[in-house]
């Protein structure tokens, strides 16, 4: 169909169907969920303070009720209450770790993309090889060597999640280098640093921001996985991973709800971020087929 091939717009329309196109309702819902999640976890200490070490041994493993919307765990703690704090910790750790990973990936990708040539080849080989390391194992190794703590978890996530960012930044910079406006700037006598700061950075930053946002669910997952294994945050601290881990014991005695709420919180927040990011990416680059591969 050369008649059609001559008109890429036509094919583009056919392909655009492949994208996850969340409807307006989906985007609004996702936005509301995220606003509630972020504002709720920020304000929680003010409106619904939690004593992390408090237990109520007279009401252990009570099923969900009006008094305890998501039930209580095997130490009688309110699951819903702790889930709010778990989300607070997870989002905090996730956001900070995602930032660490972004900075690391941005620097490596930036060096590879601006210098190109031999440096680029070597750095990308390193990235490829680290990508072949199961990042949960690497994360476990890092936590184990640094001893489980908040800082160790952030380092573990940050050091294992920068690869995709490095690749994105690098390929973006390499493709920008061939664009006419960069040539024009260089011919106009602009120095390398000036070109980088004035011309390249504004193009890379939106993509970098998107990559960071998309990384937050990954970071939350990694943190909860470490906590679930008992290698993450201190066990008394309400974190989503710790709560699911605690709930594992209750589950075998029939108290299935102890792990339900923290898991559901992860699912809902992850989906909300994914839906918003998909829309954001559509805006950012309508040509590239969006992949919602978390």
């Amino acid at each position: 169909m050369a008649d059609l091939a001559a008109r890429p717009a036509l094919l583009r329309t056919a392909r655009s169907r492949l994208r996850l196109r969340p409807g307006q309702a989906g985007v609004v819902t996702a936005g509301l969920v995220l606003v509630v999640a972020v504002v709720g976890s920020l304000l929680a200490p003010l409106v619904w303070p939690l004593d992390q070490s408090a237990v109520a041994l007279d009401q252990t493993r009570s099923a969900p009720s009006w008094a305890h919307l998501a039930g209580t765990d095997d130490l009688g703690r309110d699951v819903a209450h702790r889930a709010v704090y778990g989300l607070r910790v997870s989002l905090l750790v996730g956001a900070v770790a995602a930032l660490v990973a972004t900075v690391l990936g941005g620097v490596v990708g930036g060096i590879a993309g601006t210098l190109g040539g031999r440096v680029d080849r070597i750095l990308m080989r390193v990235v490829d090889t680290i990508a072949a390391m199961p990042h949960l194992l690497l994360g476990i190794f890092i936590v184990a060597m640094l001893r489980p703590s908040l800082g160790a978890v952030i380092a573990s996530v940050g050091l294992t999640h920068w690869l995709s960012t490095a690749r994105i930044v690098r390929s973006e910079l390499l493709s920008l280098r061939t664009r006419p406006f960069v040539d024009a700037a260089i011919n106009g006598g602009a120095g390398r640093r000036r070109v980088l700061v004035r011309h390249l950075l504004p193009h890379v930053l939106p993509r970098l921001a998107l990559a960071t946002t998309l990384m937050i669910p990954h970071a939350v997952w990694h943190e909860t996985a470490l906590s679930f294994l008992g290698l993450g945050l201190p066990p008394h601290l309400a974190s989503l991973g710790n709560m699911i881990n605690d709930g594992q014991g209750s589950l075998l005695t029939g108290a299935w709800w102890a792990s339900l709420a923290p898991g559901a919180v992860i699912v809902v927040v992850t989906l909300a971020i994914a839906v918003l990011a998909a829309r954001w990416r559509d805006r950012l680059d309508p040509r590239v087929r969006a992949e919602l591969h978390l």
């Binding site: 056919a14 090889t129 199961p134 949960l136 294994l229």
Partner: protein, 330 residues
């Protein structure tokens, strides 16, 4: 051009890859060693275990000397990596046995879990993804994609607990964990298979969305390829068009991506093994991490990385074998 002719350069490709992988793996091992050296944990006390509390300072010093813990770091590193290369993976301080025997006893179960799950995921995702793509936008397509996005946002360990709650506790169909019945005196394969249904299923389901969505998108795009339209125009049966033409060509990029997705699968396996208390590498990894068992952790990480790199190489060679346009001797 025959297939063997095209693949004549496979040996050269393998050599080229090794030339790259070896230095990078070496660099990675230095990084890991540095992290281990910076660790606040005293390997001598680690080795002595509970005895460390009663051991005299002389005893600990003796252990240090035996282990060469006080040697300069480069010397320690070279000794460690030299032993690794010679097949001596070191002594596990958390399990008090050689790392090699820990791996030998455990790796098989993890490999079995990953292998069966991967086979299941591949078969299911190729079938479901292709069917969804065949009627793009149809009821099945939309249902499958919704399910995939939903499952994709569920942590695998949570999915595992949900599976235990439903299939083991509520319905009582399958055992909640372990590899054999507690009453069993010997390991029978039927029993093991029965115990592996849930873990394999959970790992497969948790990994499936990525594969299903990829296959679905690739086949959907392939369905609009000129050669697939031409196959339809020749009046070939729908099954032949879908599986023989659209899927067959969409499969090629998929092949290489399977290799890059393996690390995810390993991570998932560690979590699933923990949830179901399976005696694979997952449990010892966690125990080793709790005890800061550097030799065991480093060996597990480096060995799995080497396995993944080898698998990547294998999928790339499989790609070359599957696509007649690729020549390796060029």
């Amino acid at each position: 051009m025959t297939r063997s002719g095209r693949l004549a350069g496979a040996g050269a490709v393998v050599r080229r890859r090794l030339l790259v992988a070896v230095p990078v793996l070496a660099a990675t091992s230095i990084g890991m060693f540095a992290l281990g050296a910076a660790s606040p944990v005293d390997p001598a006390k680690q080795y002595a275990g509970a005895a460390a509390f009663t051991a005299t300072e002389e005893n600990l010093a003796q252990i240090r000397a035996n282990w060469g813990v006080d040697d300069p770091l480069p010397v320690q590193y070279l000794r460690w990596i030299g032993n690794l290369v010679q097949g001596d993976l070191g002594w596990s301080t958390s399990r008090h046995e050689p790392v090699a025997s820990v791996l030998a006893a455990r790796a098989g179960w993890t490999l079995l879990l990953i292998g069966v799950s991967l086979a299941l995921v591949l078969a299911a995702s190729l079938l479901l993804g292709a069917l969804a793509a065949y009627r793009r936008g149809g009821l099945f397509d939309r249902a499958l994609r919704t399910a995939a996005y939903a499952v994709q946002s569920m942590p695998v360990f949570w999915l595992g607990l949900a599976a235990i709650a439903v299939f083991a506790l509520a319905l009582g169909w399958l055992p909640a964990g372990g590899l054999t019945d507690v009453t069993a005196t010997s390991t029978s394969w039927g029993d093991v298979a029965h115990h592996l249904i849930l873990p394999v299923g959970v790992l497969a389901v948790s990994q499936a969305p990525w594969f299903v969505l990829f296959v679905r998108d690739a086949v959907a795009e392939s369905m609009r390829d000129d050669h697939v339209l031409a196959a339809r125009a020749r009046g070939l049966p729908g099954r032949t068009v879908l599986f023989g033409h659209a899927l067959r060509t969409a499969l090629l990029p998929f092949l290489t991506l399977v290799g890059t997705h393996l690390p995810e699968l390993v991570g998932g396996a560690v979590l699933v093994e923990t949830v179901f208390s399976l005696p694979g590498l997952g449990a010892v990894t966690v125990a080793a991490a709790m005890g800061s068992d550097f030799p065991l952790l480093a060996a597990i990480t480096l060995v799995t990385t080497a396995v993944v790199l080898a698998a990547n190489l294998a999928t790339d060679l499989a790609y070359a074998a599957a696509d007649p346009r690729v020549r390796l001797d060029g």
